[in-house]
Amino acid sequence: MTPVLDFVPIWTLILGAGIFFYVLLDGFDLGVGMLYGLAPDVETRNIVMNSIAPVWDGNETWLVLGGVGLLAAFPLAFAIIIPALYFPILAMLLALVFRGVAFEFRFRDSPHRSFWDHGFCYGSAIATFAQGMMLGAFIQGFEVEGRHFTGSALDFITPFSLMTAIALMFGYGLLGAGWLILKTEGEIQAAARRHGKVCLIAVLIAIAVVSIWTPLMNEDIARRWFSWPNIAFLSPVPIATAVSAFGTWRALNGKSEAGSFIGAVLLFALSYIGIAISLWPMIVPYHYDLWEAASSARTQAFLLVGTLFLLPVILVYTGWSYWVFRGKVRGDGGYH
């Protein structure tokens, strides 16, 4: 029973990367889904949807891997966090179902096209909003006794989680706009630049608010960031964030087609790192750390064998399929 090797760090890395991939990948296509609602005509909607059609289902599969990965590697976190987020998870799942089938049915079930159009747009918005509330509730922590969540199913609704929910909508909107700038041209691209700018301003305000609000809520987090010498070690995070924000703004206003998307990805990565620094090593804030919530070494080892083989293959293939579908998307479904 005694663990010979400590697998927790590697599982933290795998799961941390997995969740980040999910946020990034489904983030941009949920963002595109929300911007879809602003498209003025059918032609534009076709182009916007086709820009993510080849990749969305792969993106969503990361959510399943994140879920079962958490269950297998950190079961205590799964058993506390998921019931605590009962309703946001329900809303997210139902919204994702609608949004997922809309891709297929919009083309196949043309008598109800506008129904599926709405399902796609609102589904994307609701799923994003729900994920934002989960993020807020996670940062605020859960009421726990023993190995169970003991709060109420409505605990997740707080001013803070409402704020993070709206912030995430703008964040995904920014990723989505960056993606559309990359994949489209002409009037659609110009509109994406305009939307991107609005989103970027909102995202920067949100990052500032969270950065002030979180340390005010929690003394440990304040001490971690602002005590000496931490403040010196950690200062690159806010500085890099400011630089990325400036770069994204320049890219949105300039000619660069990849810059806005790359900038948005950097902003997400830095925010993610910021949250990780604040909460480390907690996985059930503020009750259990990664080691306390981990499954047995045998469990983690058994799963690691296959994961180390399958995950790189999946990553390479994912990269390859993005490469295949590179270039601008057109209304008739082709790329050029």
Partner: protein, 464 residues
């Protein structure tokens, strides 16, 4: 009225998994059928097999897509409604479920794209390999999910440490006592279900008088397959029953509605089991038959439900009736297969109207058989989530209220009642258009843009 979170959570799980299981019941078999068709086309070069394959690939892509979206729901159910179960068992079941997820992802990422979009992009043998790998992938998925499910019925290879199950031997965990039988029985059921769906479509095309050549091949192939699989399935079912007798005798007692332990037990064809008075009403019995079936001897002993305290007994009526529905449909399937031999011998297989009607009806019945079989085994497992070790009532989160589960249940009901009929309509449209409409469709395939071939060729010339 007091809303019971345990009961409502069970209803919710039953609802989402029942819809979800219909998709693998179809896609596991269909993936293998497509691989066979692609293989025949590759080795014989006969184009008709290609047309049939492309026809089914379209339907496959819709059902696979719906399988993905309804599958995303499933792992979260373990957390939202069964968190204490998850906490207790995750060290064992977590990796099995994660391997299922990885396998499905691997298949989705690596080979489905080639199967759906790559016909012109890769050489024929590579496309055939992709079809084989997709089929293999669906079987791997079934393997892991059924390993996890079987372990809940017949746990093995574990230790219990501080109230949690921890792994001792992975081989024992995966190949737990009921797993080989359950895997064989379930996968065969999936193949049979798909085969009847194919037969039904072929029968419908024959009756509508279109695509007769394609329909004849579909019908002939699948009826040969069913000639093998239906008798085999009955045999496997028998072995599975013996396994249940050895490892889950209370479930078997419920299936047969036996209250008293006895020898030379009659088979109850019909009854209304009454749990309060521990008797059956309106019994219709066949002497000795239950002993013969369950123990393979005339005077074999079958345990009765009264051997267990009431709180350890499964519900009786549901497994009893569900089992009879499953077996009844199985016997109808056997009848269809035997009639098909006779019609084939007489040379009337493709022009007997009443037989075509019967074949058409068998498709929904075969899906119902899958659901009935699954209901039998899962309700028969009650009142346990881990048989004999962890109660269903102790598996839900303590924070959850009945009203909350009612809201989520209603949400799932409403959404599934919209998307599943819509999905069936889309697939029915493909059937109505028939196998010929393959090349001349909209430029958007399954919501995805046109062939990667075009993209590659065109992106060579431009660098925008």
């Amino acid at each position: 009225m007091e809303l019971d979170p345990v009961f409502l959570s069970r209803l919710q799980f039953a609802w989402v998994v029942a819809w979800h299981i219909l998709l693998p019941a179809f896609t596991v078999g269909l993936a293998s059928y497509i691989a066979v068709l692609e293989g025949i086309h590759l080795f014989t070069g006969r184009e008709i097999y290609l047309r049939i394959s492309m026809f089914w690939i379209k339907i496959f892509s819709v059902s696979f897509g719906m399988g993905v979206v309804s599958g995303v729901i499933m792992p979260f159910q373990f957390g939202t409604n069964w968190s204490r179960f998850s906490d207790a068992t995750a060290d064992i079941l977590g990796p099995l479920l994660a391997y299922e997820g990885l396998t499905a992802f691997f298949l989705e990422a690596a080979f489905l794209g080639v199967l759906l979009f790559g016909r012109k992009l890769v050489p024929p043998w590579a496309h055939f390999t992709a079809a084989l790998m997709v089929a293999l992938g669906t079987l791997f998925s079934s393997f892991w999910i059924l390993a996890a499910n079987s372990w809940m019925h017949t746990p093995a290879g574990y230790d219990i440490v501080e109230g949690r199950f921890v792994p001792r031997d992975w081989i024992e965990i995966i190949f737990n006592p009921s797993f080989p039988y359950r895997l064989a029985h379930t996968v065969t059921a999936f193949y049979v279900t798909t085969a009847f769906a194919v037969v039904a479509v072929a029968a419908w095309l024959l009756r509508s008088g279109r695509f007769a050549a394609e329909a004849r091949i579909m019908m002939s192939m699948t009826l040969w397959l069913l000639s093998l699989l239906v008798p085999l399935q009955i045999l496997i079912g028998d072995f599975h029953g013996l396994n249940t007798r050895d490892h889950q005798p209370a479930k078997l007692a419920a299936i047969e509605a036996r209250w008293e332990t006895a020898r030379s037990v009659p088979l109850t064809l019909f009854a209304i089991p009454d749990e309060a008075s521990e008797t059956n009403r309106f019994e219709v019995d066949v002497p000795y038959l239950a002993s013969l079936i369950v123990t393979h001897s005339w005077d074999g002993e079958i345990k009765g439900l009264k051997d267990w305290p009431r709180e350890d007994r499964p519900p009786v009526a549901i497994p009893f009736f569900a089992f009879r529905i499953m077996v009844g449909i199985g016997l109808l399937m056997l009848a269809v297969v035997i009639v098909s031999w006779w019609l084939r011998f007489r040379g009337r297989l493709f022009d007997t109207a009443w037989f075509q009607r019967a074949c058409f009806l068998m498709a929904p019945l075969s899906f119902i058989a899958v659901l009935a079989g699954w209901t039998t085994t899962e309700v028969g497992r009650q009142p346990w989530t881990i048989y004999g070790l962890m109660r269903t009532a102790d598996s839900v989160p303590p924070s959850l209220s009945g009203a909350e589960v009612l809201i989520s249940l209603l949400g799932y009901v409403v959404v599934y009642l919209i998307i599943f009929p819509a999905g069936v309509m889309v697939m029915a449209n493909f059937v109505r258009k028939g196998p010929d409409s393959i090349e001349s469709d909209s430029p958007i395939e399954s919501g995805r843009p046109e062939r990667p071939t075009r993209i590659q060729i065109q992106s060579e010339g431009e660098s925008s």
